[in-house]
Amino acid sequence: MAQDEKSGTDIAAAGSSHAEHELVNAGTAVIDPDPFENPGFPPHRHRVTDENPKREKRAQRTVYTLFYLSIVGSIWAVAAYMLFPIESGDPTDIRLNNMFFGIGCALALLAIGFGAVHWAKSLMSDVEQVDERHEIGGSPETQAAAAKVFADADEESGFSRRSVIRNSLIGALLAFPLPAVVAFRGLAPQDQIPVPLLYHTMWRKGTRLALDPSGAPIKASDVTMGSAFHVIPEGLAELEHGKLEEKAKAAVLLMRLDPNDLHPSPGREDWAYDGIVAYSKICTHVGCPVALYEQHTHHLLCPCHQSQFDITHEAAVIFGPAKRPLPQLPITVDDEGYLVARSDFTEPVGPSFWERH
């Protein structure tokens, strides 16, 4: 693209007199034909420690004092480890151990650090070194030699010439990682696929609603106006395996509102019982538990990303990134007055996923 360059390619960079730069394209840089001269290094200014032997002595004293102080710190840390036992389990003891052991370590480290820096700054020579820079690409001879190595290797191996060998090798190299890809299928159980699992929870027709975490069933009469109960399906607390996986889908929040405040859509009138409604606690955004229930506004808030759901309108989203309402668990009471599910959720709970429709 040399032709669209404004500046010539044969002009050196600003502030540069280096011969190697002269052939490099400077693009749209403005090159001053008569630049300011670099004045060179200013005269070296001596430090007080260079000129005043007393100050030098003092700096020396500071440095070794710091190093000795570091030894004190290390010893103190060892002592603190023993002097401040934590086996009583008393939080105060643990705090003291943490603090005093830590102070010792910090002193040991900081004193070495400040000592070494002070030594370097005040006592070591402060004459700066000047290194010449060279083109990163190396000299033309080196580049030519490297090019020749490649050319020779190509010639000797026939990499370019024997194209069938080369191409078959490329094919083999592309194919050989494939077994590794299938091997990773084993990361998840071989006999399961995720989508059906996401469609179902532990709730069945007749499953009693139980208190989280005790698992005690809940009667409709227990749920007074303005209450919020954190609910799990009965039997979940006793599960031997997969308890958390089931809970991650089945957790429910139970609330009682004035039945007149509820606005059920057609077909869902009987999903509530006398103003008692049960909604999935798992946010339809990315799955945090939505459990911040405001008993006067009837809003549910997710503390992770601030999605808000209106319980009076079937948990419709009124703010935040979630799109779908929280799924409602249809409930009723059994003969003994306990709250039970009428069925499983009628849609997958929790965050959206690709195959959901």
Binding site: R95, G226, S227, Q295, T297, L301
Partner: protein, 264 residues
């Protein structure tokens, strides 16, 4: 149950308590009785007609403007019939009432009444209709099982109040207040009455003993020394992140300036 040394004192007649229980039993179901009996029996001090009369005077002078004569409610404030002594003790005892100005929610302010006056108000309101009573010392003294309380707190309370009781945000400017200095009695009262937008946690949801355990956990958090050092407001990673940028990296940058400055 150790009832010999109640923390809150007042002059109430024991019979008044019995009367209150009786009233409660008349108006509410059997389930509710369990609650009343377990809390109200703590009131060993007189709850006499005189107390109620004193409370009525205070109420007329300080509360009736909004809550109406006889606490039946006006446009400016809800009816207090049936809210119980616990609600009044919580709202007045934490300084939320009398309210200074309307806003998203009642603010905690310096308490306006003495303990005695608060009790008089509470029992006046309690006399208007049955409601939750002020909890006994046993329930609010924090002598229960902290581990059970912590688990219940995480499930029922932490989403609003934060796991360490540091408080949190609600919608439209409302918030769940920090519990770092709240007394056991007030925590108990808040659970049974559901002040502001807080849901009610009745005794069938969280039993009185479980409530006691929750208070025990919160008392543990309030009283025990933080093991790791200063807690930065228990605000979690936000406070930690600001700390490392401002103080951690800030200190280190200051040191880099010293390291590279020319020594004189």
């Amino acid at each position: 149950m150790n009832r010999s040394k109640p923390r809150r004192t007042g002059r109430r007649h024991p019979l008044a308590t019995v009367a209150l229980i009786a009233l409660g039993l008349v108006f509410t179901g059997g389930g509710y009785a369990a609650f009343s009996s377990s809390t109200a029996q703590a009131e060993t001090v007189a709850n006499s007609q005189q107390t109620i009369d004193e409370g009525e005077k205070l109420f007329q002078a300080n509360c009736a403007t909004c809550h109406g004569t006889g606490a039946v409610g006006t446009d400016a404030g809800p009816s207090l019939v049936g809210v119980g002594a616990a609600a009044v003790d919580f709202q007045v005892g934490t300084g939320r009432m009398p309210m200074q100005m309307s806003g998203p929610q009642a603010q905690v302010k310096p308490v306006q009444f003495t303990d005695e006056q608060t009790k008089q108000l509470a029992y006046y309101v309690a006399s208007l209709g049955p409601g939750p009573d002020i909890p006994s010392d046993h329930l609010s003294n924090g002598g229960g099982d902290a581990a059970n309380g912590a688990e219940l707190f995480r499930i029922n309370c932490a989403m609003c109040h934060n796991v360490a009781g540091a408080g949190g945000a609600l919608t439209e400017g409302k918030y769940a207040p920090p519990l770092t200095e709240t007394s056991g009695v007030h925590i108990y009262e808040a659970m049974v009455t559901g002040p502001q937008n807080m849901p009610v946690f009745n005794d069938l949801n969280i039993s009185p003993e479980d409530k006691r355990d929750i208070i025990t956990y919160l008392k543990y958090v309030q009283d025990s020394t933080p093991v790791g050092g200063f807690e930065l407001g228990s605000l979690g990673p936000v406070a930690e992140g600001l700390f490392i940028w401002i103080f951690g990296l800030g200190a280190i940058v200051a040191i880099t300036v010293w390291i590279t400055a020319k020594s004189n």
